[in-house]
């Protein structure tokens, strides 16, 4: 790998690490991170496919409050590097996915360590605030962000120094039953992410919409955009109807529940 590629990979890794905590531009999402690694190493197509496949698994991974989700940043960056070093192109994707999962756990612990170290940074910021030192506050904030970037950039750099032949030997030594089984497992693992999201959102009121979506999706002619349009329409219809139902429910008891009103008036 050329020196320029190495530098660019480390820059992408740094961005992904920063985003792993910032959660703004989404450089840490597999779709973006794997594609960028593929782009800077000249294996764009393999990177895109790995990104798409890993994204499906990581759809439901989100940091809620103080809880930290499996780390998409390290998983996508490191598995993309391994895919590139392995040199198997697009056929190496399912093996790279298998490697990505333990990395997501490792990344989770790394970010927890950095988030603890950041406590020291904010104490420095307190001290700077005491002296109304704006530069000091800014500096320690930037240092904390940089630590999150290094959290991914350092492992990525270390991976690059493993000779490609070692990686290839390791990957080809994996028997077919293992990689095939991993690919089958990968198809099921997607469900975990969805289950996490459903658990956060599900109420009695919105379950029917899940059922509609499930049945409608069996029509393979419908693209995801068409499904999105149906979903938005359903949401708008429901909101409008529940509102008009509430306001026409009789002035006295404005419970927003027309059936309840009818029963009360009965």
């Amino acid at each position: 790998m050329s020196a320029i590629s190495i530098v660019l990979v480390i820059i992408v890794a740094f961005l992904a690490g920063m985003e792993g905590v910032l959660d703004e531009f989404q450089f840490h999402q597999p779709l973006v991170a794997c594609t960028l690694i593929g782009l800077v190493t000249g294996q764009l197509e393999a990177g895109i496919i790995l990104g798409g496949t890993l994204q499906m698994i990581a759809l439901g991974w989100a940091n809620i409050g103080a809880a930290v989700a499996p780390d998409a940043a390290l998983a996508s960056v490191a598995s993309a590097i391994i895919l590139v070093l392995g040199g198997q192109g697009t056929s190496g994707v399912s093996t790279a996915i298998a490697v990505a999962i333990p990395l997501a756990v490792a990344g989770l612990f790394l970010t927890m360590v950095v988030r603890t170290l950041s406590v020291a940074c904010v104490h420095r910021m307190d001290a700077a605030a005491e002296k109304a030192n704006f530069k000091g506050v800014e500096l320690w904030h930037i240092i904390a962000i940089a630590m999150q970037g290094l959290r991914i950039a350092i492992p990525a750099g270390a991976l690059l120094f493993i000779p490609a032949t070692t990686v290839q030997k390791f990957l080809t030594s994996m028997p077919a039953w293992l990689t095939d089984g991993m690919a089958i497992g990968g198809g099921m693992v997607v469900a975990v992410g969805y289950a996490m999201v459903i658990n956060m959102m599900a109420t009695k009121e919105v379950w029917p919409f899940f059922a509609i979506g499930f049945c409608v999706a069996a029509l393979s002619d419908l693209t995801l955009i068409a499904l999105g349009a149906i979903g938005v329409s359903l949401a708008l219809i429901y909101l409008t109807l529940s509102e008009s139902g509430g306001s026409s429910g009789g002035g006295g008891s404005n419970t927003g529940d027309p059936l309840g009103d009818i029963l009360n008036n009965y």
């Binding site: 920063m18 940074c121 700077a128 997607v190 996490m196 999201v197 919409f209 499930f214 979903g231 429901y238």
Partner: protein, 303 residues
Amino acid sequence: MAEKVTLSKKERLSVALRSTFLQGSWNYERMQNGGWAFSIIPAIKKLYKTEEERSAALKRHLEFFNTHPYVASPVIGVTLALEEERANGAEVDDAAIQGVKVGMMGPLAGVGDPVFWFTVRPILGALGASLAMTGNILGPILFFVLWNVIRWGFMWYTQEFGYKAGAKITEDLSGGLLQKVTKGASILGMFILGSLVQRWVSISFQPVVSKVTLSEGAYIDWGKLPEGAKGIQQAFEQYASGLSLTPTKITTLQNNLDSLIPGLVPLLLTLFCMWLLKKNVSPIIIIIALFLVGIGGHLIGLL
């Protein structure tokens, strides 16, 4: 009053840009406090001139804060309005400012998480990923561009909204708008999740349930086809008219399940994962277990 200090659009924009880095120094002690102070520095510089005032302002904004990173924007907007009033001599004490921040962050996080993490990102992510899995570069580009346009539009608009509405915003928001947005997002999210479970969770059971030898004429008799392209054409015609490709009809367990409800097994798997998560089983453990099941199932020929 002699002259009123106000925050110009330039400073408000600078605050909004800095709030991109809100979570940079996220820590287990006071969470987003460092990023909050970092974001609001341009406003403090403009509003306060003496060292005591500036130091007090910095310290007041290094207090605990944590919410969804994008819905922090309206809170920042309101805080800017409050700080502006305070700098112009109004009676706004530290407790009032901290009260507004803490009062808004909880309910707003309750909107930001379902809307952004559980609706917009899974939908855009699935859209991009389904394109990317075929090697299409549009997938990642679409995801990245759409997401950042939505994110930045939301952050800038709501910060301005908060700044203009000031402390009144809490009344505006409690008027049912928040609940409506959250409910609409959950409906859309659940609908899309239903379709994602159907389309993208894949399990295929391999065991053969039945093997029926078909009667003559129900399958393509490859030996009787003419040579060359004509034969291929005839074979396609026969296939299209419903003839089987092989003399025996193989039905796998998967075929049986699919004729019941397509995607039934993925649905059951998803419900099982939900149940495990509710029992506080770590998602990592479930993921690793599913990989093991995949390998084991493949070895014994079930999957």
